[in-house]
Structure formats: structure tokens, C-alpha cells
Symmetry: C2
């Protein structure tokens, strides 16, 4: 639950409870909705009750005694210390708790952000952070920076398209390739810097690498105990705990490795043939009508394939014991991205690598980019609206059916009920772990892969991507501000798995562009690589990939060390309190003396 105090009385959270069917006025005080409302008021929250068409809404911006609560005749026992809201939610009495839009802020953001086409990539990022929380703000900051950075390759790509370099034509493309790769490398690193700068600005402490401040603090507290004692102590009581942690850690890693291997294998064995078969049949078909029909069947099929893949991934992840939900979400992102990666690029690879037809490749690239630009942006914004309208329509019909056709058209007057009917900002695959940002980031990553991996084949793609992202910022903003329920703010310090995916795509693009260049220079197919040399080159690339990817599988810090450190940080905190108390009770003694006193006993 998010409780933020602001100046104007804007309602922040809605609690949805069903309308009572049998209203008995005699026992109002123990009726659980009443108790809840009373409790909210007790902690100083403004509460407004709105009776909606179908449900009752309690808007709000917790007592001590075991109480028997009543709801619609049923009785339930509210234990001491139990939190009421989760209890009522689990009992189905509270239907939903969701954050409410703040109309004034929403309108201000709509004006300064979503409908502001003047500053191309500048966004009121602090306001977005304050309204939507870190995770969404980081997404938009990333999107903004990515789009701004895209200007350079877009301009370079347009130049390459316009100017005829004549004899230098074959020299310009490698230069473009090198520039693009350097651009991408710098972008990913500078995003990390921007990310940490944003966190510093928002006062979210998240140490990266060596940390002088924390070290200082830790050293100071560490020095209170003599190291000899500590090492002796360590040997006896912590061995068991350490072993437990290690077993747990390695079992978790094994499970994750097994799952990843499963996903990769099934992608290669099941998805790859399917995609190649589609690309091949599309290529050999002659009639356009049949091509259209095939594509329709294919699009229908992959919808199911990704859904099934997503569900399998979610199920697999539940068996992994990832440290926290963030790691869990990352694990899911990697798996599902593997699926989408295959689906999006294998067809293009097919054209690029097997047919060596640059013309078809360019056509496919334009096709894909236009599809993603027009179709996806349209879908993104119309689908939630259609869902919302359908929900409204169904509710109206239900009401009409109940009340008879006497009242005519039913109006949804209360803003809170309208918001309740809006769909929530959730991911297309399993909304338990990820919110709607998953789809938005996926779109970005797939676009980045598309423009980077085939940069040499069609330098103009960057310009398309730039235009696409300029509109993407606006459509995503409109979507969040008007189409969906206000999303629950999620804490996140980085964009997580997505940055790693971007970096993986950079490495991939170095390799694919080199292959493209080789094919471009060798149009006649004169260059020959001995199978032995090819095998060695493949081995080298795989080993390099393992070298740079291994650290992702085995973290630098064992689980028990991490657990120990968290414990120590808490202890240090406690010790700070204890020491201060002693200092005060001791009157004249200084802080340094207390320290000495501590180390002696």
C-alpha cells in the first residue's frame, strides 16, 4: 500500500467492495467494511465512500483486539495484530485495491508530457517519477535517452543513403559499422551513468562497485571487535549456516541452469524449424494471396506459441529459488526474450545468411519496422480502450438485465468506477512477476536488435527507429495516463535484465555485421573458409561468449557472504543506537571512550 501525503486532498487509493445485498442496520459497528472505513479514518486518512453501479468504492488517502467481523451475514474472526486489508482481500470481501489517478497531476502531465510534441525527447522525468514511481520513470528516461542518442546514427544513415560515395562506397560501410558499434557501446555505458545519476537525484541509495561511504562505515564498526576473536568465533558457529547457504545457492543455480538449458533447447529444437519452415515456404510461394494466407496462419500460430512459451517460463521460474522478485523477473525476461528473439530475427537471418539477397533483406527490414511503428502503436492504444469499452458494455447489459429495461442508458458518473473498469497495466505474459513495462521494453529491445544486427544491410533503419521512438514516448505516455488504471509504483534501481539484453544484442551485432560485410564484399562467393578454420572461429566465438557471460551465472559474492553482510549492516545499526544510549547515560564519557569500553568486554 502506498500512502503519500500531499497538499490537496487527492484520493490516492481505491478499495473496491461489493454492494451489500441485505442491509441490516442493527449491527453496523462490527460490519467489516464499516470497521475498515473507521480504521482508515482513525489513522488520519480522508475516506470517501462512493456507491457505484455494481460495486461500492471506498476512497482513501489500521486497532488492537480480536473482533468478530460480519459481512453479508458471514462471520470472520479478526485476530490481534492481523492486518485487516490483506485479510479481507483473501476472504474476497475486498474485491480490489488499486491506486487512483490524481486528476490535477494527471492533466498536468498529459499537457507537459504526453501531448507535448515540442521538446522531442525531453520529458518531465521528475514529475513522472513522483507520479508513477521509479520503475516507470526509469523506462521513460531510458527511452528518452535512447531516442536522443539515436539522432546520430539516424543522421549518419540518412547521409549514407543520400550521398553517393562512388569508389569509396565499400569503404564507407565499415566505417559506419564501426561508428555504430562504438555508439552502442558508449550508449549502454552512459545509460548506466545516467541511471546512477537519476538514482542520486531521487535519493535512492544503490551502491555500484566499490563504495567508499559504506566501507568507511563498515570498517568502523568492524574494528570494534578484535579480528582474532572474530575468526575464532567464525570457525565454530557459522560453518553450518554457511553450508546451508552454499547448498541452497548451488541448488538454485543448478535449477536455473537446467531451466535455461531447457528453454534454449526447446527454442532451438521446436521454434527454430517452425520459423525456418515459415520463412522458406514464404520464399518459395509465388501467389501473393497464398503468401497473405500463410502469414495470417503464421501470426495466429506464433500468438499461441509465445503464450505457451511464456506460461512454461513462468512455471519453470517458480521452481527456481531466485533471491528476490527482481531476480525472478529478470530470469523470466531472459527466457521470454529468447523466444521473441528467435521469432523476430530468424526469418531475417534466413534472408540474410542463406539467400544472400540484400534486396529481400531490406524489404523485410522496412516491412518489420513499419509494422512495429504503425501497427503496434495503434494496437497498444486501442486494445486497452476496447477492453474498457467492452467491460462497460457488459456491465451495462448486466444491470439492464437485472433492473429491466426501464431506466434507459446507465451512466458511469463516478470517476473511481470508471477507473475500476479500465484494464490494469499488466504484461502480456504472466502478470504476477512483471507489469506492462515488460511489453514496452520488449518492443524497444526487439527494435534495437533489428536496427543494430542488420545495420550494414540498411543504414536507414536508424532514422525509422528514431521517428518511431519519438511517437513511442507519446503513445506510451497517453496509454499510461488515460487508458489504464494508475499502475502500482514499483521500486527498481535499474532497468535490470533489459540492459543485459541490450548488451548481448551489441555483441551479436558485431558478429552479424561482420558476416554481412563479408558477404557484401564477396558478392561472387570467391572467398572460401576451410571447414577447419570455420570450426575454429566458431569455437573462438563461443569461448569468448562464455568468458563474458560466465559472470552472469556465477555471482562474485557467495550467498552466505551476502546474508552475513546484511546481518552485519543491521547489527551496526543497532550498535550505533546502543552506543549512543551508553554515551548519554554515561554523561561525561566521550564517544571514543565508549568504543574502547566496548572492545574490552
Amino acid at each position: 500500500m502506498v500512502e503519500r501525503e500531499e497538499e490537496q486532498p487527492a484520493f490516492e487509493i481505491a478499495v473496491v467492495v461489493p454492494k451489500r445485498s441485505n442491509v441490516k442496520e442493527e449491527d453496523e459497528s462490527s460490519e467489516c467494511v464499516e470497521v475498515l472505513v473507521h480504521d482508515f479514518q482513525n489513522v488520519g486518512l480522508l475516506v470517501e465512500r462512493v456507491l457505484g453501479v455494481a460495486d461500492q468504492f471506498i476512497k482513501e488517502n489500521k486497532g488492537k483486539s480480536a473482533v468478530i467481523l460480519k459481512h453479508d451475514g458471514k462471520e470472520l474472526r479478526w485476530e490481534v495484530g492481523e492486518r485487516l486489508l490483506p485479510k479481507l482481500e483473501s476472504q474476497g470481501i475486498v474485491k480490489q485495491v488499486f491506486p487512483l489517478h490524481d486528476e490535477t497531476k494527471r492533466k498536468k502531465l498529459l499537457h507537459s508530457w504526453a501531448l507535448n510534441w515540442q521538446d522531442f525527447t525531453n520529458q518531465p522525468i521528475d514529475d513522472i517519477y513522483l507520479y508513477f514511481g521509479t520503475k516507470i520513470a526509469l523506462y521513460f528516461a531510458f527511452l528518452g535517452m535512447y531516442t536522443r542518442w539515436l539522432l546520430f546514427p539516424a543522421a549518419f544513415g540518412i547521409l549514407l543513403q543520400i550521398i553517393d560515395f562512388g569508389p569509396f562506397r565499400l569503404l564507407v560501410l565499415p566505417i559506419f559499422f564501426i561508428c555504430i558499434i562504438l555508439w552502442a557501446i558508449m550508449f549502454s555505458q552512459f545509460w548506466k551513468r545516467k541511471n546512477s545519476a537519476l538514482l542520486a537525484r531521487w535519493q535512492i541509495t544503490y551502491p555500484i562497485g566499490a563504495d567508499a561511504g559504506y566501507k568507511l562505515l563498515g570498517m568502523e564498526w568492524g574494528s570494534l571487535q578484535s579480528p582474532i576473536e572474530l575468526i575464532r568465533k567464525w570457525g565454530t558457529d557459522n560453518t553450518k549456516e554457511k553450508e546451508m547457504f552454499q547448498r541452497n545457492e548451488w541448488f538454485g543455480r543448478f535449477m536455473r541452469f537446467r531451466n535455461d538449458a531447457l528453454v534454449i533447447l526447446s527454442i532451438i529444437c521446436l521454434q527454430l524449424p517452425f520459423e525456418v519452415a515459415y520463412a522458406h515456404t514464404y520464399e518459395i510461394m509465388e501467389s501473393d494471396l497464398m503468401k497473405f494466407g500463410l502469414t495470417a496462419i503464421y501470426l495466429f500460430a506464433i500468438q499461441y506459441v509465445t503464450q505457451i512459451g511464456g506460461k512454461i517460463s513462468v512455471r519453470l521460474i517458480k521452481h527456481e529459488n531466485n533471491e528476490n522478485t527482481e531476480k525472478r523477473a529478470d530470469s523470466l525476461v531472459y527466457k521470454v526474450f529468447g523466444l521473441y528473439f528467435m521469432q523476430s530475427y530468424i526469418g531475417i537471418f534466413y534472408h540474410a545468411l542463406l539467400h544472400r539477397s540484400f534486396l529481400t533483406l531490406r524489404q523485410v527490414l522496412i516491412q518489420r519496422l513499419l509494422v512495429s511503428e504503425v501497427l503496434e502503436n495503434l494496437l497498444e492504444n486501442s486494445l486497452p480502450y476496447l477492453k474498457y469499452s467492452y467491460k462497460k458494455y457488459r456491465l451495462r447489459r448486466k444491470r439492464k438485465h437485472e433492473k429491466g429495461s426501464s431506466t434507459g442508458k446507465i451512466q458511469f458518473t463516478s470517476r473511481v468506477e470508471k477507473e475500476y473498469l479500465k484494464p490494469s497495466y499488466s504484461a502480456s505474459i504472466g502478470d504476477e512477476l512483471e507489469d506492462g513495462l515488460f511489453d514496452d521494453f520488449l518492443e524497444l529491445a526487439l527494435q534495437f536488435g533489428l536496427i543494430m544486427m542488420f545495420a550494414c544491410a540498411f543504414p536507414l533503419t536508424f532514422a525509422f527507429a528514431f521517428l518511431n521512438n519519438i511517437t513511442e514516448i507519446r503513445t506510451d505516455a497517453v496509454k499510461l495516463l488515460t487508458m489504464f488504471k494508475r499502475p502500482v509504483p514499483r521500486a527498481a534501481a535499474t532497468i535490470g535484465a533489459w540492459l543485459n539484453i541490450f548488451q548481448f544484442l551489441i555483441v551479436m551485432s558485431i558478429c552479424t555485421n561482420c558476416a554481412l560485410l563479408a558477404w557484401l564484399y564477396d558478392r561472387e562467393g570467391k572467398w572460401k573458409i576451410e571447414p577447419g578454420l570455420a570450426a575454429i572461429l566458431i569455437m573462438e566465438h563461443v569461448l569468448l561468449l562464455i568468458k563474458f557471460g560466465f559472470s552472469r551465472f556465477v555471482p562474485e559474492e557467495p550467498a552466505w557472504v551476502r546474508a552475513n553482510r546484511v546481518k552485519n549492516a543491521t547489527q551496526a545499526h543497532d550498535m550505533c543506537s546502543k552506543q549512543l544510549l551508553r554515551t548519554i547515560s554515561g554523561g561525561e564519557r566521550t564517544f571514543g571512550e565508549v568504543k574502547k569500553f566496548e572492545s574490552q568486554d
Copy 2:
């Protein structure tokens, strides 16, 4: 200064002052050595004065008033608050301050560690840590783990040498190569884990990557102030400071980049031709005598080259504004390693790449390994002893000269004077930034490069390296315990630049071994690579190197964010104290209420 309290009265630090020439008894109380001794006694340190042959020694385990101190007739003013020891050192009155060996512990370590040949790689690492401090303990932990891990490739290499695989001979080598690379990748990652485990054991807090404990702490303190206020505040007063930090950071980075470029360029332009010339002349010379002469001249020349290179590097580093001395030392290590890398491997590369003679390559490899094994270990241990003996001899002669030849042989009876005469554990290049560990790590890194980069040419090298390291542990231990003054313990959380160098060597070895394998399979030179393809491959490798090396040049966290965080950590600490004081003065108020109170004003 290191002050550790232990149970037995072992003297920990020696302060060397010259013997007074004219002893005036009248003004004993303001004579500065007396003042120093008195001061040491005042803080509860045990002080023992030993009059040596040439100097006076004060053994020991700080007043407030501006005093005029006298020494040998000269007067100097001791200001209030000024620390006496550094002052006297700068005035040349205190000749040297150095930590003393603790005889009982030293003997125990000598027995359980240096002369203990039974447990091959197990070392009493906690005792080493307690005696020598983190940095040296980490070196030995690394050396031990590296040697232990070497067992696997050593055994594999011996197997390859013994068993004749017949027709599978050409299949076994790539498998060996893959195993070795995987082994090295795992070793470098598991060392990081071991390192953090050791730090946890020694209670040295040093967060790596995401840090739950600190985050928790930081978040808690961060939430005390409303984020809106903070963002507003940020905009006004911190912009200037931020700009200053950024300018400073980028200027420093530019200087470092310039210096690195200078070093790399001079290595390529000056050292490379020199080394290649030597390798080539050695190859074409026929008489063995001339070869011997050439090698002697070469060895004499490179001694100077590395010394000059080291001095230039040290001077260059002084113009870089690295954040701390650790970063500074790392910067030096990279530069000097570049020099040694060229010097050690270019000759081998010459044999491997240009001559394609595997036989010569193997001979060179054995030669190098034996030289490093026998010669370096011998030199390492005899050189300090020779230095020590020469110092003793010179001092004796000087005394004799002064006193006349009447007293006969002068005995150095006091242990402290003997230790004073021992050389200090310092690096062969510039002892300002690094201690003797530089040379030891350099030896290890060069060995690692040698065995890894040419693994496919001669799998047996791993066995040589294993044997070498088994003795290396002992000789290094003996050297530290008996040959040198006890080194000043240095704080270090990791092995720093050396791990990066090891990782760089792994990447290099992937590429060189692939080249070796290609040449091995293509003995007739049938495989041809078109120059275009070769150019593309080189471009690809350079880009991959940039991709994975760029993050070393531009850190993930801007300097101003880091500075800000350190400031915040200190503030949080202060706030903790302030809040507790309020809690206590407020009497009945709980901690949570105080928090609320804070956020309102």
C-alpha cells in the same frame, strides 16, 4: 602507524633516530627524542630504547602545547595539534619508522607455513592475515588457490604427453584447449567468490554489486525527507558542485587516456621493433657463442628499458588525478604490465606466428619456465640477503674507520638493529605506490600468460607451473619472514589490477590458441584467408575488445554521484545519532514518531 594490542609484550614498531653526537644533559626535557619517548609512554605504549652501532632505536608498541624542541643543538617549534612523529621525520631527526617482527609469531609462521612442505597449497591464511595484513594475505590466498586449481590442467597436460591418442591426436588438442579456457574462466570467477568470502571472514566490508543491506539502510534514511523537496533543493545548490565534479572527472579520464595511449604507442613503436630485432638476430645467428653474447647484451639492455619505462610510468601517473592511491597503483600496474607483456611474449609470438616452428616454440617455452623457476626463485631469495650482508659490511667498515681497528669485529647484537639493516619489501619499480607484491604478482601474471597463451603448443607447461608455484609459496614466505623488514600492512579489498590482467590474458589466450590450432591443422599452409576477410576478422576482434573493455575506462557511476553518496552515508550516520538523542530527550515518544516529526519540519 599501526597499533595493535596483543597479549604478550611484543614490540611492534621501531623508530630509528641517529645517535646524538654532543650529549648535553642540562636540557633533557625539551630534547625532542625525549619528548617523543615520553609521549609514547603517556599513551600507554611500552617503550624500550636500544643504542645500536650506528643509530639509536626506540621500540614501541601523542600532548598539547607549542614547545620548542632541541636536537643536536638545532631548535624547532612544535605547534599545537601538529603530530610529532611526521614532523620529526620531515626534519630528518627520526630516520625511519618501521614495523618490527614479532619473534614468537614469526617462528610459528616459519614452522607452520614457510617450511611446511606437507600440505601442498594449504596455508594458515588467517595467521598470515593477522601478521601481515590484508594485501599480503590476499596474495598468498590467490597463489594458493591458483596452485591448487593448476592441478587439473597439469594432470590433463601430463596425460596428453604420456598417452598416444593415435588418430584422435588432432581431436584431443581442441578439447584440451576448451577445457583450459573454461578452467581459467571458472578460476577467475571463483577467485572473486573466494576473495569476498575471505573479506567476510576478516570482517572487512566491501560491497560488490547490488547491496541489500546498504540499500535497506540507505532507503530508510532517504525516506526521511520528502522526495519533492529534495529534487527542488537539488536543482539550485548542487548544480555548480556537480559541474565541478564532472569537469574534474573528465579531465582525469582524458589525462589517463592520453597517458595510456602514450605508453601503448611507445611500447609499439620503440619496444616492439627492439624485441623483434633481438628475436630475429638470435634466430639467424649460427654460432652459439655469439648467441650467448647477444643474449647477455639483450638482458642488460632490457634491465634499463624496464627501469626507464617504470620511471616514465610513475611520472605519468603523477599527472593523472586518480581518485585514490589504490586506483593510482592500478594505473601504474597496467602501464608497467604492458611493458613486461611485450618484453616477455613478443619473442615467443615471433617464433609461434612468423616461423610456425612448434619445436622452437616448445624449446623457448621450457627455457623460459625453467629460467623463471630456478633463476627467479634463487634471485628473489639471495638478492635481499646479499643486500643485507653488504649493508652490514659497509656499516662495520665505517665504524672501524671511525674507531680505528682496535675493537676487532663488531657484532650486531640487538635484533632491532639487524632488522633495520634488512632491505624493505619494495617494488623494483617506484616504491612510492607499490610494495614488493608488485614483483610477485608480476611473476605470477607472466607465468599465467605463458602457460595459457601457448597452451596448445605445449600442454606440459601447466605441470611445470604447478611445481614452480608449490615452491613459490615457500620461497615467498621465507623471503617475507626472514629476508625483509616486516612490511607495513596495507589495506586492500581485492588483488586489484592483477585480476583484470589475468582476465585480459584469458581473452588473449582464446585468440592465440585459436591461431595456434589453425596453424597446427594447416601444416602445409593450404588454408587461405582473403585479406578482406582477415581485415573483417581483425575489426571484429578489436570491436569485441572495445565492447568488453570500455566499462573499465568509463565507470558506471559519475564522480559527483559517488561523492554525493559518501556525503549522504556520513549524514545518515549523523542523523542516526541526532534522532536517538531526540528520542531520549523526548522521553515517551517512539522511534517512529520521531521520524514523522522529522519529515514535517
